[in-house]
Amino acid sequence: MDFDLSDEQKQLVETVQSFVKKQSPLSRLRALREDPTGWSRDAWRQMGELGWISISLPESVGGLGGSFIDAALILEQLGTTLVPEPMIPTLTAAAAIVRAGTEEQATRLLAPALAGEGSLALAAAEAQSRFDVADVATKAERAGSGYRITGEKVWVLNGHAADTIVVSARTAGGPRDREGISLFAVDRNAPGLEVQPVKTMDSHHAGLLRFKGVEVGEEQRLGAEGGALAALEYAADLGAAAACAEGLGVINTALQMTVEYLKTREQFGVKIGSFQALQHRAVDMFIEAELCRSMMILAALKVADADEEERKTAISAAKVQLAWGGRQVTQQAIQLHGGVGVTDEHDIALYFKRMHVLNALFGDEDTHLTRYARSPLFTANVGA
């Protein structure tokens, strides 16, 4: 076993650290709060040029061929100042494209996004689907040589700004059938596609997407008709792993800010950090943060695992730990800040908000707890 970073990885982390410190302090998120896009095209282009968007994608589709660990290291640092650019939506949509589509499709669709010139979104969730990507009511019916897509997708991250949207739609079967789900790459300007921008708690934006008979050609379908669920589940798991990585940055920053506050805030003539009740609370937060780091590594290592059940249980375990640790750390961070913790002006509240969003995305605690407990691996090797 070896959990050390390579020299290249260390250098990568330093580059991202310097970027967030110099170019993307938290004030940038605040400044973009009222902006209709909510992120900056310049910053995104820079991230593309630095190779951060493409780092963990295969070379065969224009990526840099690194492992997901590299992407996770970047995401973790971006989480420290809540960098608002659409990394997670772009990476998840890219994962679906790479897994389901041909190399030709992937190379063509990903090129603008990997360069930071365009961005992507994965439109999977529907009003009734909760976190089950197989619960697809949106339909793609055969029309001429292509398809016509009808249905509604909700809370699509970056759905308000993405140039290409990967949408899941049913080409056969009933609700929640595992077969009959297809993926399509849709241009944001496609006639019949209505995008309603919505604001999210973490100062980001998302889109409610209405497909009103959107016509797509055969060549826009990614993979075999009706056989896209495996790719979709993989993409959602990659999103969950990405949430664990960014969440780790959020958690550790909230912890650091709190520890710093305990060392500086004075009440009763002493630093409040001298109260043992608060010292223990800080240590409990630290324990959760370290467990989140451990589980983030597990998720990042297993996300590409060829054994699907291995991947799913590892991702679910990590996402559950993120929910536990993220909640505890950010709640207590506010508590230990006292009144300033519940002001809009203080940054700690922004970390609390982003943490909630990361916990909700790509499956909440119960969803992953259930999937973990239902896995065949859960009852394997138990003995008679």
Partner: protein, 394 residues
């Protein structure tokens, strides 16, 4: 032992329900149904309605315009108001400064201030906390100096002054003797917010609501007749307040209401093609929280029954704030969980989420304050350890 309410109290509960149903204007009713944030004017509109009914300050003695309701009826009244989602009246006049003026004020102060608190003509806010005096309130620095002409000159800064931007008056703890030991140099002073030298700067809570203000005093001249209680005796007054109406602080009614809301959200949210409310895992989570709440409710009943008999608050009353505040937070955590991805919504236009879910994300954020205001839960625990469990400091 008997868990049931007397027939008179049951009848009173019905009377309260019927009154709310008939007296609440439709505009407030709609907002109440969605647990929306009430604007100041709406709170005052409701204040005046309750005032006309004589229920605005039921815990005040009848002779100063309160009511003759007994402890249990008062509890029922407040519980039904919470259950109905009625606007929470500003507590600063009715629950805080009013009772102190009744207990410690001069006849002139009573005559000058109490009727206008009752009628809602004058709105109050609380100026205790300062940037560097939160949990350690006694370290406050705002000073009031005798100008030798019958006035105090007040200089300093208060913070977290809830709704100061809507208030006419502020009651303050100020330092009147800089040389005395911390607690003993503090006085209780009433200040007209229109006094020159007083400025109020509102700012937002993390729930996006304008509840907070900073209040600055730059040589504000305040007549000495606005001193309540003895000079340098303010700390005793502040402590007396802590004993008032502790059974209301548990917010049992609000949490019962919140859990009902969680169930409604879960009933209309789909999971695996069925209502989330039928999901055993989620159902168990609600049940766990509801059981915690029942424990709190029983503790609250014990406290009320004791108070009804005129007993001093027992140990059970000391846990009400801690548990009650935690449960309030957990209700909204569960509501957020039920909402799923829609819980990310932040002040979107109507229709994006169900009307009664519109304010859930804001409250989820703001309610982190329940374990902080009114003495943080850590401070509450320090007090319980020392005074109730009898564990001495080192």
């Amino acid at each position: 032992m008997d868990l049931s309410f007397s027939p008179e109290h049951l009848a009173f509960r019905e009377e309260v329900r019927a009154f709310i149903a008939s007296a609440m204007p439709p505009s407030l009713m709609t907002k109440a149904a969605a647990d929306s944030h009430f604007e100041h004017d709406e709170v005052m509109e409701w204040h005046k309605i309750l005032h006309r009914k004589g229920w605005v300050a039921p815990h005040w003695p009848a002779e100063v315009g309160g009511s003759s309701l007994d402890v249990t009826s008062r509890f029922i009244l407040s519980e039904e108001l919470e259950l109905a989602g009625a606007p929470a009246l500003s507590p600063f006049g009715l629950v805080m400064v009013g009772p102190l003026i009744i207990q410690f004020g001069t006849p002139e102060q009573k005559k000058r201030f109490l009727p206008r608190i009752l009628s809602g003509e004058e709105v109050w806010c609380q100026g205790y906390s300062e940037p560097n005096a939160g949990s350690d309130l006694a370290s406050l620095k705002t000073r009031a100096e005798d100008d030798g002409k019958g006035n105090f000159v007040v200089t300093g800064q208060k913070t977290w002054t809830t709704y100061a931007q809507y208030a006419d008056w502020i009651f303050c703890l100020v330092r009147t003797d800089a040389s005395a030991k911390k607690q003993s140099g503090i006085s209780f002073l009433l200040i007209d917010l229109k006094t020159p030298g007083v400025t109020v700067k509102p700012f937002l809570t993390s729930g996006g609501t304008p509840a907070f203000s900073e209040t600055f005093f730059e040589g504000a001249v305040v007549p000495k007749e606005n001193l309540v209680g003895p000079l340098n005796g303010g700390w005793t007054l502040a402590k007396a307040l802590l004993g008032h109406e502790r059974t209301l602080i548990a917010a049992v009614g609000a949490s019962i209401r919140a859990i009902r809301k969680v169930k409604r959200i879960a009933a209309r949210t789909q999971k695996d093609g069925r209502p989330l409310l039928e999901d055993p895992l989620f159902r168990a989570k609600i049940a766990r929280l509801e059981i915690k709440l029942r424990g709190l409710q029983m503790a609250n009943y014990r406290a009320i029954a004791g108070a009804q008999l005129g007993r001093a608050p027992g140990p059970e009353s000391s846990i009400l704030k801690i548990r009650g505040s935690e449960i309030q937070q957990q209700c909204y955590e569960l509501a957020m969980e039920a909402m799923g991805l829609a819980s990310m919504s932040w002040f979107n236009e109507p229709g994006v989420v169900h009307p009664e879910e519109q304010w859930v994300p804001s409250l989820f954020n703001y309610l982190r304050a329940t374990t902080i205001y009114g003495g943080t839960n850590e401070i509450q625990k320090n007090i319980i350890a020392k005074l109730i469990l009898g564990i001495p400091d080192r």
